[in-house]
């Protein structure tokens, strides 16, 4: 992974499998690992989750990842199409090459945090950009949409309703 020993790799199975599986990991050189282990005072991570995931992934990892990619790609494309259809040129976004999030840039001057409550009233939940940005101020007019959970029809309906709520609040 890192022949120069500059990288600590931290990850989890929340995105490759699901957040219901509470398993994470650190990959580090023994110099670092030996120090981290002294702070792990929880009597060990639950073995059941580890063993089931270990058994499953030791046989199906590549196939599983391909399946997840294909499923998420369909939803990503649905979300991008719905945003273009219902928001038009009002918003900007880049279609992500991977992952399960799409960031949308709203017109400048819009504070995405002010849209959370009115959207939730209509049954729509999204993350305002500042909550998930290393530079919250710079992300004021951004929202982060996770497209993995809703079905494609819910994505279309949700985005249509979101556009109506935003339009009422911002006038754009």
């Amino acid at each position: 992974m890192d022949d120069a020993n500059h990288v600590l790799h931290i990850g989890s199975f929340s995105k490759s499998l699901g957040p219901g599986i509470r398993l994470g990991y650190v990959v580090a050189s023994w110099d670092v690992m030996s120090r981290l282990l002294t702070r792990k005072n929880d009597a060990g991570t639950g073995v059941m989750d580890q063993m089931i995931v270990g058994d499953y992934f030791s046989k199906h990892y590549e196939e599983h990842i391909m399946n997840v990619r294909s499923g998420l790609r369909r939803k990503r494309d649905a979300l991008a199409a719905a945003l273009r259809e219902h928001f038009g040129p009002t918003v900007e976004f880049e279609v992500p090459r991977g992952g399960m999030y799409l960031w949308v840039k709203l017109p400048s001057g819009v504070d995405s945090r002010s849209l959370v409550a009115p959207a939730l009233k209509e049954g729509i939940a999204f993350n305002p950009g500042p909550d998930w940005s290393a530079d919250p101020e710079a992300a004021t007019n951004y929202i982060r949409l996770c497209f993995a959970l809703p079905s494609e029809s819910e994505i279309w309906e949700g985005v249509e309703n979101m556009a109506q709520v935003f339009q009422l609040r911002t006038g754009d």
Partner: protein
């Protein structure tokens, strides 16, 4: 009920964050967090893997950290294999 009548709010530090609100359930159009796609959960294979675990060595479940504090070996081998394959 044990503790009935105690004003717990007087016992907590004033430095603590405000109390959490009651959970109101999931919204209909849920684009938050990192929820995954339920259709992508390999339930049949999980059943197979769980069965393998339950038919395996009972010491796995009766001991703290069967393979030591760094987690079970099959998962550590998996990470090693995947990290050597950046194309996956």
């Amino acid at each position: 009920m044990v503790g009935k009548g105690i004003d717990y709010s007087a016992l907590f530090s004033k430095e603590l964050p405000a109390p959490a609100g009651q959970w109101q359930g999931h919204p209909k159009y849920n684009f938050i967090g990192g929820h995954h796609d339920p259709d992508l959960q390999p339930m049949e294979q999980f059943i197979e893997s769980a069965t393998n675990v339950f038919r395996g060595d009972p010491r796995n479940l009766s001991m703290y950290g069967i393979d030591g504090p760094q987690g079970i070996l099959p998962l550590r081998y998996l990470r090693r294999r995947v990290l050597r394959r950046p194309d996956i």
